[in-house]
Subunit: 195 residues, 2 copies
DNA sequence: CGGTTATGGTATCGAGTCGAGATTATACTT
DNA sequence: AAGTATAATCTCGACTCGATACCATAACCG
């Protein structure tokens, strides 16, 4: 194991499987009354915090355009997977919330089924796989000047507070100057900035 | 480095970046007069050997249906990226060949641009990344009972022959019982079976 | 206050994907 | 010769997608 850096792995040996894997999973996203675009939106909304469950944030996350996302959101609403509601204190915006039907269909997410294969991987491979993908994604985000959509724990605007009796939650966001519930701090955020 | 297997990496830390990376690259596949489906087909045809450059093989590679691929192929032909020709000795089938225009546009392939980011990765990470992705893809292929589309070198039907003056090439395929040019043996094949 | 500009979302359009199913032509089998 | 399998195409309806125009609300500024 001394010369672990020999035997160069060509970029193709990473790009080709990556590309085909993504394509094949996508091909299975036409089942269960949803299609790939709708799956992507549903997955995002399941992970987004209260500042981020809007069509605009979804647009940025997916690297799409507002018009396209508007259509997809309407399809999801029509099919009963999400509901729309007015956003508190911002009449232009809207909140998108999963219905019970929306939450339950996520169990059949084709990407989620990949998790089984991941469990069979060795610890070293899992660690390096996560690290490599994280860096590749970071590069792609930088190239497209896109947002990171990370969790509070890695955000420069996050201030963790000790437990308190405050019902609004123990933490605080310095950017929006708002209290953060413990649950919300575990979800991805449009405003996230690493730091 | 002794306890390299501690600190479990959750499946989500692999699936989420993987999913978003694939989505973001896909979002950039609308440039250059092509769209994602057409990019996928063009990339495949650039890598397929002489037995595998048909609509049917492309259909299997992408996990799609014949009708869909037929449309995409016609679009690529209409746009001048590929040409269609009759297949030798099989009148039902067709060969799809990249035009010079098709070959040159591949330089702008959004997936290819990922290769730069891969070069920045460390050797260990690159190795494990390739290994992990290969295994995840193998699992996906098994689940969907799909073909591997590997190279001759890993195929159980391949017989490497010594150099000869035979113009048809030095190698041989035991399945189709045909000679194989050195060039073709370096391209992916519908008939590939690991072993 | 009024005007300009920015922002969040929708309406509409045309090109194209996608799976499903029917159709045509060729090949193989018995 | 009849039946079946295979390679590809055609047609259909539902949907994605970017582009553009549009509307409402918000922010800013003199």
């Amino acid at each position: 194991m001394a010369n672990d850096d020999d035997d160069e792995v060509s970029a193709e040996m990473i790009v080709w499987p990556l590309e085909r894997l993504a394509r094949l999973i996508r091909a299975r996203e036409h089942e269960d009354a949803l299609n790939p675009a709708q799956w992507e939106a549903l997955r995002y909304l399941d992970r987004a915090n209260g500042f981020s469950n809007s069509p605009g944030a979804l647009t940025q996350y997916l690297g799409a355009t507002k018009g396209t996302i508007s259509q997809t959101v309407m399809a999801l609403e029509r099919k009963g997977f999400i509901t729309k509601a007015a956003r508190e204190g911002e009449k232009r915006s809207v909140t998108l919330v999963l219905t019970p039907k929306g939450k339950s269909v996520l169990a059949k997410d084709p990407w989620k089924q990949l998790a089984g294969g991941i469990d069979d991987l060795g610890g070293k491979t899992r660690r390096r796989l996560a690290k490599g993908l994280k860096e590749l994604l970071a590069g792609e985000l930088k190239r497209g000047k896109l947002k990171s959509f990370g969790l509070c724990a890695s955000c420069r605007f996050f201030r963790e507070k000790g437990r308190s009796a405050d019902s609004a939650g123990p933490h605080h966001c310095m950017l929006l100057n708002l209290p953060l519930s413990a649950a919300d701090s575990q979800r991805i955020c449009v405003e996230h900035e690493p730091g």
